[in-house]
């Protein structure tokens, strides 16, 4: 239904790096990758769509978003911060409760069965 479904819109560019095997991310969960000193939260949806955003939750100051629960709000995929439960849209990085806050998004791809991120 939504053409953007498969593409994260990266807000930063950089070099591509392989991160982990797809199997290391359980479906419907996230992991955190350390890429060029950045903490990046990578999420694997039920249908194997991948999203990558900052792991840092600016509302709590903790690096925790990869451990948040993922799901959707009105069809838009989101992660809920485990600390104070703010929601961030996975496609845009925008905070649902506070539209002025937006996280960096990163390009993420599946090559063979390995997850690659550009950061």
């Amino acid at each position: 239904m939504n053409q953007l479904q498969h593409t994260t819109i990266p807000s930063t560019t950089g070099t591509w790096q392989s991160v982990c095997a797809l199997d290391e991310i359980w479906p419907n969960t996230g992991v955190c990758a350390l890429v060029n000193g950045r903490q990046i939260a990578i999420f694997r949806m039920k249908n194997d769509d991948l999203y990558a955003i900052d792991n840092h939750d600016p509302h709590s100051g903790a690096n925790v978003l990869s451990r948040g629960l993922i799901g959707d709000l009105a069809g838009e995929p989101v992660v809920a911060s485990p600390i104070y439960k703010h929601h961030y849209q996975l496609r845009t990085g925008v905070c649902v409760e506070d539209a002025d806050t937006a996280l960096n998004r990163y390009a993420v791809e599946l090559r063979e069965s390995t997850v690659w991120v550009q950061a």
């Binding site: 990758a33 690096n63 629960l69 799901g71």
Partner: protein, 854 residues
């Protein structure tokens, strides 16, 4: 010379106290308002809730019943004298003399002396073990006598008499009710209703004797007393309680020459003034238009009127009272509305009688068939609210009024009241005088659960009879404000948590995906996923970090530890009952030291270790498990701790082994997941050192077994636990706890503690007792079996987690690196480490950072 106005209130009962509250509401600083208020109370304690007096038998204490907020009578300008009885009034001097001889002057006098139980003039009525039912002292005396008696008789089959009969029944006595009239509750109920009520009550084991006039009480042959009736039949019994009506305490007024009503009582006008305009009379001692009111609501009404009049307001007047009543007598619904006996000329009535289910309903309508005049409901009083409002507000009747009381037949909606038709002025809660308008205001101000409505309007907090109607009005008001009244969990599931629980059980659903596919839509969210996880765990108790369950778990369950503000975790091993060996303590100390964890003894009587990074958790737990510990579930919406005092093993007051029981209970219910966390407490005697009455489940040892309290809470909104059952042996105790917990799990909302669940439970404590103790829903065995399933499937989650390499791999900060999160920084304080503040993190270089061991 005294420029203050001296107000003297005689009687510190329900109405007298309410009057003083009204004064204080108008003038919080009485002294500044130049008021000098003195209150005389003959009883040894300040005002208490007589309406709920009977709950004294089910464990309420005098403090629980108190109506007086601590410190209320300490304010300047207000004095309360207890054990102080007024003996005469001098209306010319404006003074009142007390039995101790002292004299008090007044400018305005308020008589709120209530009434006394009427004891018929039977020879032998003042023998030992003959009681009345009015004060806490009466009940204390009855309780003492009850322990030595086998049987008891209540004289009087009215409202109070039946309530008293229930108390005797609960004491385990063979109970009789002796009534002078030809039927029970003659005042409220008609002939046919009385019949149904009688057979209901007899089926509960109470012997009912109507048309019996007692002529004498003499020594018995098989029991202490023999009651002899006018027809020379007799009945033997160990104790007797007279509850044959009440008489107003108007003696002060009579002796000082005030006008007295035709049937007694201090005659008052519409402003609650007696024939002397400096003297008001309010409550049960007053007679308005020759009528006296044996209920508290009209008394409150008089108190408000008198107070307003005292300050020169003449707009509000006392206009009589609606004597409609609804109560549950011995588990039987009894209600009467308005003209229950159909005394209005030309009126017609409709009856419905179901002899199988023992239900009787009657409505009385006006001659023109347009308005409802009265009603009687026995056995089931669901329509009470509707009928009462229809009668009170003279609302138009539907075309076929008989459908109001007929059972709804399939597919046909019962003609309801349509709460929208009610005027804003309609009083929904007559005990606390809460109108429909007030409920509307509360909703507009944000209240959207019956618990919140109760808290801010007090509606439904006295007798509770109005709760269904108040709920209806609340929902209608919410709809008006465009608030969602659906109880859908979230946008993904059009069901409440209770409904989902039911679906999961009935369809044996074991995964979220299946639940979502069959009953939901979208991907789910952080509301429905943890709720489903909790429901699945309550039902099946599978390992929560299984691949298809892990992704549902909330922050804390996700890594089996409480996530702290900086993203580090705490580690809490279980110490059942707070018991731990020295070796256990040493092991914890060594592990905490090795991983540089901050340690603290918690309010839950165990040791928490803070500051573990996610990748350290499996190693820490591996060592704890090796030392004999298991998960404390401090992270779960599940059983936390069973706090205990040291009990009879060590304590010189202890009557039973509270620690032993606590350990047993904690081991039984550990790992049980619920809508919210559950805390237990067990005390070894009534000194209650474990504070069990502040817990969801509290147990206190008595000489005869264990008393079980439920639904207490500490925290933000403390709530005293209520006595559910007493003197249980261990086996029954566990059975009751099984049922209670599973019933809570089954019916509570998400994140609803037992205390709020209980506040929102329609039917309240009585209903809970019916379900848990009397198994009224026929669920007992099922609930016990479900609990046994959870108990049998317990596993130590941490043990499973560290021994499964797949699961263990999840515990790391980074999927592609073994380093830790450099945002987790600790500094030292009081010889331990704590998380650095953001400020300290910025100055990182200039202050000593504690080294971290991996």
């Amino acid at each position: 010379m005294n420029e203050h106005i001296r107000i003297l209130v005689v009687g510190n009962g329900m109405v007298g106290h309410y009057f003083v509250q009204e004064l204080v509401k108008r003038h919080p600083d009485l002294s500044a308002a130049k008021l000098e208020v003195t209150v005389l109370g003959e009883e040894p304690r300040p005002a208490y809730d007589r309406v709920h007096l009977s709950s004294f038998f089910s464990g309420s204490t005098a403090e629980d019943l108190s109506l007086v907020e601590p410190g209320f009578y300490d304010r300047p300008g207000l004095e309360l004298r207890l054990n102080a009885r007024a003996s005469s009034i001098d209306r010319i001097q404006h003074t009142v003399t007390l039995t101790d001889g002292s004299t008090l002057a007044y400018d305005k006098l308020v008589l709120a002396t209530g009434s006394v139980p009427f004891v018929p003039g039977v020879a032998g009525r003042d023998r030992e073990n003959c009681f009345v039912y009015r004060t806490i002292e009466d009940l204390e005396a009855m309780t003492a006598a009850g322990t030595k008696a086998k049987s008891g008789v209540v004289v009087g089959g009215g409202l109070l008499g039946l309530e008293c009969a229930k108390a005797l029944c609960d004491m385990g006595l063979e109970t009789h009710v002796v009534e002078f009239a030809p039927r029970l509750m003659a005042v409220q109920v008609d002939e046919a209703g009385g019949q149904v009520l009688r057979s209901k009550i007899e089926s509960l084991g109470v012997h009912v004797h109507t048309n019996r006039n007692t002529t004498a009480i003499v020594d018995g042959a098989t029991a202490r007393h023999r009651m002899v009736f006018f027809d020379e039949t007799w009945l033997e019994t160990d104790m007797i309680v007279f509850s044959a009506g009440i008489r107003p305490r108007d003696e002060l007024a009579r002796d000082s020459g005030l006008a007295i009503g035709a049937r007694g009582g201090i005659a008052i006008d519409d402003f609650s003034r007696s024939s002397d305009h400096d003297i008001y009379a309010i409550g049960e001692c007053a007679s308005w238009n020759g009528e006296m009111f044996g209920l508290v609501a009209p008394g409150y009404d008089m108190a408000r009127t008198a107070c307003a009049h005292l300050f020169g307001e003449t707009a509000s007047t006392f206009q009589g009272a609606d004597m409609s009543t609804k109560l549950k007598l011995m588990g039987v619904d009894v209600a009467s509305v308005g003209d229950a006996h159909g005394k209005t000329p030309g009126c017609r009535s409709f009856h419905y009688l179901d002899e199988l289910r023992q239900i009787y309903k009657k409505i009385v309508v006006s001659e023109d068939n347009k308005t409802l005049l009265g009603a009687v409901l026995i056995g089931n009083a669901d329509e009470f609210g509707t009928l009462q409002q229809m009668a009170l507000n003279a609302m138009p009747l539907p075309d076929n009024p008989e459908f109001l009381i007929l059972p709804a037949s399939d597919g046909k909606e019962k003609p309801g009241l349509g709460v929208d038709a009610l005027p804003d002025s309609a009083v929904l809660c007559s005990c606390n005088n809460v109108s429909k308008g007030a409920i509307g205001e509360a909703v507009a101000a944000g209240a959207c659960s019956i618990g919140e409505i109760k808290a801010c309007t007090k509606a439904g907090t006295a007798c509770g009879g109005c709760v269904p109607l108040v709920t209806q009005v609340m929902k209608a008001e919410m709809r008006k404000h465009g608030m969602a009244v659906n109880n859908h969990l979230c946008e993904h599931f059009p069901y409440s948590r209770q409904e989902l629980y039911h679906i999961v059980r009935v369809e044996q659903i074991r995964t979220f995906d299946e639940l979502l596919a069959k009953h939901g839509k979208g991907l789910g969210c952080d509301i429905c996923k943890p709720t489903a996880a909790s429901v699945l765990a309550s039902c099946w108790n599978d390992f929560i970090l299984k691949k298809d369950l892990a992704s549902l778990q909330d922050s804390n369950d996700y890594f089996l530890g409480n996530i702290q503000k900086d993203g580090s975790y705490s580690v809490v091993p279980r110490m059942p009952g707070g018991e731990v060996t020295p070796d256990g303590l040493i092991a914890i100390g060594q592990i905490a030291k090795k991983y540089s964890l901050y340690t603290k003894v918690t309010g839950g009587a165990r040791v928490d270790m803070f500051g573990a990074r996610v990748e350290q958790l499996p190693n820490i737990w591996e060592e704890l498990i090796a030392a004999g510990f298991e998960s404390g579930h401090a992270y779960g919406k599940s059983l936390r701790t069973v706090k205990s005092c040291v009990g009879s093993t060590w304590c010189r007051y202890g009557v039973d082994d509270s620690v032993g029981l606590a350990v047993q209970l904690e081991n039984r219910y550990k790992g049980l997941r619920a809508p919210h966390k559950i805390k237990f407490g067990v005390s070894g005697c009534t000194r209650e050192c474990a504070e069990a009455q502040g817990k969801d489940v509290g147990i206190i040892a008595t000489e005869n077994g264990w008393n079980l309290y439920v639904c207490g809470n500490g925290g933000m909104k403390p709530r005293h636990a209520e006595l559910l059952a007493s003197d249980l042996n261990k086996e029954d105790l566990i059975k009751m706890i099984d049922r209670f917990l599973m019933f809570y799990i089954r019916t509570a909302d998400r994140l609803q503690r037992t205390s709020t669940w209980r506040d929102n439970l329609e039917g309240g404590l009585d209903y809970l007792k019916d379900v848990v103790i009397h198994d009224s829903l026929d669920l007992g065995a099922e609930l016990e079996a479900q609990m046994q399933h959870v108990v049998d499937n317990y596993q130590d989650e941490w043990k499973t987690a560290v021994t499964d390499p797949e699961v263990r791999k999840r515990f790391r900060s980074f999927v592609n690196s073994t380093v830790g999160d450099n945002n987790i920084v600790f500094v030292s304080e009081r010889e331990q480490m704590r998380p650095a503040t953001p400020e300290e993190k910025r100055l990182e270089k200039t202050i000593p950072i504690l080294a971290l061991v991996d």
